[in-house]
Symmetry: C2
Subunit: 217 residues, 2 copies
């Protein structure tokens, strides 16, 4: 791995473990056994590192949550989306844990976030539309935009919701999976009868992930 | 009003307007035209003020969200709950905007928050149960605890969700009302047919509040 990529990976790991506020560029350099000077050769400061991590996060988002395709198995597609939600929450938990604070310290990142948010919320609306058209869910047309916001809010702030209820900073896999169970529950009351058993199966699947990963981190 | 109460009210106002991080005890004293020494006679520091504000917030919570009583009009009760959600979001928006950060800076407040949270989440569960028993909503028994968390998460982080989408700090009444519309939407797909028209009426009512308060602050 190139030094630049190593710095990014180590930063994500340390931010997730100790909280982004608590980790300095010196900690990151020491963790990698490189000099602060070497780190500064690759990144101007911590904000610069965070912006690069955010770009990686945005790239993953960009590839995800396309409208469902009626030619494919809808439940398999949905399951991919829920897996992606878990992976994003788990990999970038520090971002989710502290987003308002991180954005308030970097006007450029705030602007970038707003673009990424606008693109994503539009994708989520189209995804909900496609589930409605495929008769997987039944939802009033007028409620689609608010439901999209509601889903995005829950994904974005699940980690914060956990954090304010406990003293420790790092989260466990089981807790991220509980977030997925919660997002799935938002869909459940909208689900049409023919798709209901598949949704119940998914609910059992993710609940099992939450129960089985209790001791992991 | 006593000086002590004036300090609390001015602090809430300034925190909501400029963000809690940006306001110091000196700003609060200057805003009231009192000396910093006079302020310190009443409160040891900013954390002490925030703890007292939190107590006021907790007292309001304590009086709210009791299980519905089948002898009263259920929709009238629900409408009181939604009004309370608006009032709390509007009056204490700075708390909702920055909760993880505020709690991370005060271990005693973090402990207090955890108690208040545990009491409230239990109340919300009982409230959902009572709506189920009154046949206002239909929800699987096993989903009640997660639905309670889901509602609380949305109320707690709606303001944060708004904040990360815009540069300005203070929120408008219309935006807090949109949060109420969102919480109401969470109930809607669970609502049983006989109660549906009343829920639709509530949805129109709060949407109107959101539309009419666009220019207020």
């Amino acid at each position: 791995m190139r030094t630049r990529d190593k710095i990014i990976q180590a930063s994500i790991e340390l931010f997730n473990l100790h909280g982004e506020r608590q980790v300095t560029t010196n900690h990151i350099a020491a963790h990698l056994g490189i000099s602060p000077g070497n780190l500064y050769y690759h990144f101007r400061n911590k904000n610069d590192i965070i912006r690069n991590i955010f770009n990686e996060y945005a790239k993953l988002l960009d590839k995800s949550f396309a409208p469902i395709d009626a030619d494919n198995d809808v439940i398999v597609s949905l399951s991919h989306y829920f897996d992606t939600i878990f992976e994003l929450m788990w990999k970038f938990s520090f971002l989710y844990a502290n987003l308002p604070d991180i954005l308030s310290r970097d006007a450029a990142l705030q602007q970038r976030y707003m673009q990424v948010h606008a693109t994503l919320i539009e994708k989520v609306r189209l995804l909900i539309q496609s589930l409605k058209e495929a008769h997987v869910i039944d939802i009033d047309e007028q409620d689609v935009p608010m439901f999209a916001d509601s889903l995005k809010l829950q994904v974005m702030f699940w980690i914060s919701y956990l954090r304010v209820q406990k003293a420790s900073i790092s989260i466990k896999k089981a807790e991220a999976y509980r977030g997925v169970v919660m997002v799935l529950l938002q869909f459940k009351p909208y689900v049409c009868e023919p798709a209901m058993q598949a949704i119940l199966d998914l609910q059992v699947h993710y609940q099992k992930q939450a129960d089985e990963n209790l001791d992991d981190d």
